[in-house]
Symmetry: D2
Subunit: 337 residues, 4 copies
């Protein structure tokens, strides 16, 4: 961390700050130019709260040399992390596919889709039981009943299940019943919820917030990891931009950038990103080529009558055909699918 | 709601959609151009989930004529809402000021600040007890102890207290102890939390999310109101933009826009918006002139040593001087301060 | 176009608007709901200026059924456009690669790079002669001398040349000397410049503005095409977002979206998008897989000493290796490279 | 400027960079931590092109201590600049109002509006002759004829005229005929145009680009000033955000921020910002209170039939009434209006 002091700050004030920083265990390197005066802090600055320094009226600004995340940082953990879920690995050489409907609607629906995607080669089943909806008047998911149906589908197909947790009071149920706990984009900075899943040992699928930077995504992962749970899988699902033809803009450069700065596995959700079924195939293929560890894809047997997000769901036949194309690309890219 | 069908959709498919919409209680007005075919829905469309129509592969797009919010909508409630908090009114002719430190730090601190702001004319005391912080390694607030200190300050000064609720499991405590429950920007779409405060009869101060549109803010208010609690106060606190000199960009045009579309009172937080203490005065004055119902301002007796956000806090003397200037402007603008 | 009238507009005002629209050659379909009143315009609305209708105080808002672009619209030109440049095709089955340095620096530099990229399989040479720079104190390009060096490189290698035009007063020179005229991101809405290149018959490479929507990009193409020049190639080069690790965010979903709405060829610039050399390879591969018609890549023989943008340039050897990988992917994707 | 070297960079490479920087006239302060190695440059770094350092593969990142603009920087010019236009001052204690129609439409129109706004107290007349329009099919302004009508209006009313220059080839005409040359938002980074007006001695009204940061706006001013013309007036006119109710989001915090970093006068355009006539009054008042040096307001005698942007224009009577309110606020704020 580097402190830029204001011009003409009196010596006494500079000494005060220096003593304060030294008392926090930092060594100080001073550097003076014609129009500026810098204090470089050497040592472990991760415990220093920047806003406490910025509050000093003689400080012009702060500049950060190191990333604010530690456990999620590749610098301190150079090897790729691989998350093992009931014997299935996420990360490393593997390219995994999570598929299923936006929301669980009925026993017949979820069993039929689960069977179809398993046959096409998906390795995890997704399905919403508790749904975050923009309008209070929209379908909010089948709730507990939806979770029971997911468990039934797991029993029949052997596919581990992924579903979203929205409130800390369901955590016991999720630990018991779910294989991967999903934290949705709108809750990426719901810090109490992050701490809650951080206290479990369940794999967590953490989606990037709609306007979150990659640093903020990694800080959200840090919240979970700092509580003791290091089994975090990141998910890029599109960010908000000015573009109107698509619901969000998929940020595929986030994949190599995250891989450079962090050791955590990262997958891509092409369905939510564009919000349009005909974008799923090209974006899924691009996600594989750009280096993602997997995909999360919405598949529905009857999109036109889906209770939510049918416009971004593809049918099982189309999903099967997409898996075929992904396998051909995976071979070129040396990924195991 | 208007459904734009794709070119060349066969008659049979159009009839299917028409029958479906009619079964939902809508009358249909059809309109055909050379290159398009529209179905206008007349009647109460608020219960129709748009994604269920967009999912139809023959639908090109949907266009919305009416706003998706009802209880927050001025159309159905032309008079300004006034929220009464322990005898103090927010909305209408009043211009109120909420002031206090970012976080409660000690008995001495909160009592001293509370006393100062009351004397300067503030009508509510703010102070964070449970703090949402970007880093898990930053100060997270004094928690329950902070809330006790706020109660003590209320007892000594008579000022009603405002503090942020982060998790549903504290709701009983907040109903008991707090005068206005604040929902922070990061939780604006934490729908389970919104429903929870919607089930109480406590006034709720709802902050706009960092990248939220005004429609999304009003839909978040709708979540609270649809559960039965109509005592919602909105708060503009800056939105994320590309600008780097300020932490966020205060959207002052949001005030007249919200007042046009909704009957709810709306206040402005100039401290969080800019993130810089020297911006508080000009932005506070502009907020009054643009038509806000009040302000929320961070005041600290020792900003340089504040445990959080000291760089955006002003000292009690400066606050006093600001209140003086606000009173002069209030007179020109016919507001009671 | 659909006009949403305000509630309670008197009949006389509605009739006025109807007569005005009819006088412009539109037929009108009226539709009344409980809380709204719509006028749907049937006929050619492309000549109606929306702001002239919105200005009417009885109009609540306008909704658009059709896209505002015509010549760039796939609706009226279903076949893919292929732009032929000196016998080389851009669009259709081809996947082309434009490569070269950010700016032309010397004869030795441009000849050496041109030779290298030609051997690796690039089909066009890029190089900046007139450079748009954020600071007036930065290197502004070799100007006319740079253009002469590009011509020399073309003579030696046979590669057609692409370079940026910044001002209308160079247009004669560019018509004479350049094979593809580039319009940079900052000039995407420099309408006088667009009209100028629209009056030539030169192929134009039009880059998307940093914060432009796809519709705005297509409207910029429309400016060129409406003057008579239909040889437009679009280029996605990253848009401004809140992300800080990358200079811009490459919007790869723009490729399938543009291909759906327009018949024009579209290529991708992975060098400017991320601004980081190690992002070029993964993004270039993803661009091919997502369906782009080609790439524009910065290659420099000595990036560490490049006069601009060295941090996003790759060396000829790395470029050669990338071309190898692209060829393997092109085979899977049925593209000719 | 501070260079952050990558971990484990060998001594030889560090020495190479140090020698290169020293050869550019900088002194170097070195600072090593456990996980980083910094080189602080002391001296005049304004001539060093950052991209030339970032290109070095051993450099992790650059951090900037000083602003990149010099002539526009308050640091080197502590006094407020006042631009004198035909005896009328912009900046300092004055609060000026520029008013007039979006585009000049006829002699009758411009004369009538000019007369009205002069009587209400405006000090400059605006009016578009050459119009930048998103669609090539929209009205492009009366061009040269429009300019002649503006001159006529100046002759009749004595009001100096402001109009937009879109292309360098009109510069002679503008020097001759116009009192303040406006550079529009879309041309804020049209560097050739900036240099062109920089070579004149005409006052330039420079509008902030739709997605430009304040630093970019000041760098655009720097382009003009570095050519010798220091008579620059800045104009905040709204930035692009995700908000849909307003065309752009007026950034009023930009005013005190610009005043802190620069000595140039800055005015506000509330008409373009919101794009809605009923927003003009509250935003104009807020602009005065927040500290702007003036306003630019669209006034039209018949908005419903205006040839462009009628929805954001106010009528002369409303303008007159607004001026009254502004005068009352100006008195409180100690501004001369």
């Amino acid at each position: 961390m580097i402190i830029v002091m204001k011009n003409n700050t009196v010596e006494e004030e500079i000494n005060k700050i220096k003593r304060k920083m030294e008392s926090l265990g930092c060594e100080i390197h001073e550097s003076r130019g014609k129009n500026y005066h810098l204090l470089g802090l050497v040592g472990d600055t991760s415990k220093i709260d920047p806003s406490q320094i910025e509050a000093n009226r003689n400080v012009d600004k702060l500049m950060f040399v190191q990333e604010p995340y530690k456990k999620a940082n590749r610098l301190f953990h150079p090897e790729d992390s691989v998350v093992n879920v009931n014997g299935r690995e996420i990360g490393g050489k593997k390219f995994i596919v999570i598929a299923g409907p936006c929301s669980v609607e009925s026993e017949q629906q979820i069993l039929s889709i689960a069977e179809d995607i398993r046959e096409s080669g998906a390795s995890f089943l997704r399905g919403g039981a508790y749904k975050p909806r923009t309008s209070p008047y929209s379908f909010q998911g089948l709730q507990d009943e939806g979770l029971e149906l997911l468990k039934l589908a797991r029993e029949k197909t052997g596919l581990p299940i992924v579903t979203e947790l929205m409130s800390p009071d369901k955590i016991e149920k999720f630990i018991e019943d779910v294989d991967i706990i999903q934290i949705g984009a709108r809750n990426m900075q719901n810090f109490d919820l992050l701490k809650e899943v951080g206290r479990t040992q369940k794999p967590v699928l953490l989606k990037r917030g709609m306007s979150a930077t990659i640093e903020e995504l990694l800080m959200a992962a840090e919240y979970i990891m700092s509580e003791g749970n290091e089994r975090v899988i990141l998910c890029e699902r599109g960010i908000r931009t000015f573009e109107k033809y698509t619901r969000n803009t998929l940020d595929l450069s986030a994949i190599p950038v995250i891989k450079k700065h962090s050791h955590l596995p990262v997958i891509v959700d092409p369905s939510h990103a564009g919000g349009l079924w005909w974008l799923v195939e090209p974006l899924a293929k691009a996600a594989l080529t750009v280096g993602a560890d997997g995909l999360m894809i919405e598949v529905h047997n009857d999109p036109a009558n889906a209770r939510c997000d049918g416009q971004q769901s593809i049918k099982p036949e189309r999903f099967n055909c997409l898996m075929e194309k992904l396998r051909r690309l995976a071979k070129v890219e040396n990924k195991e699918l």
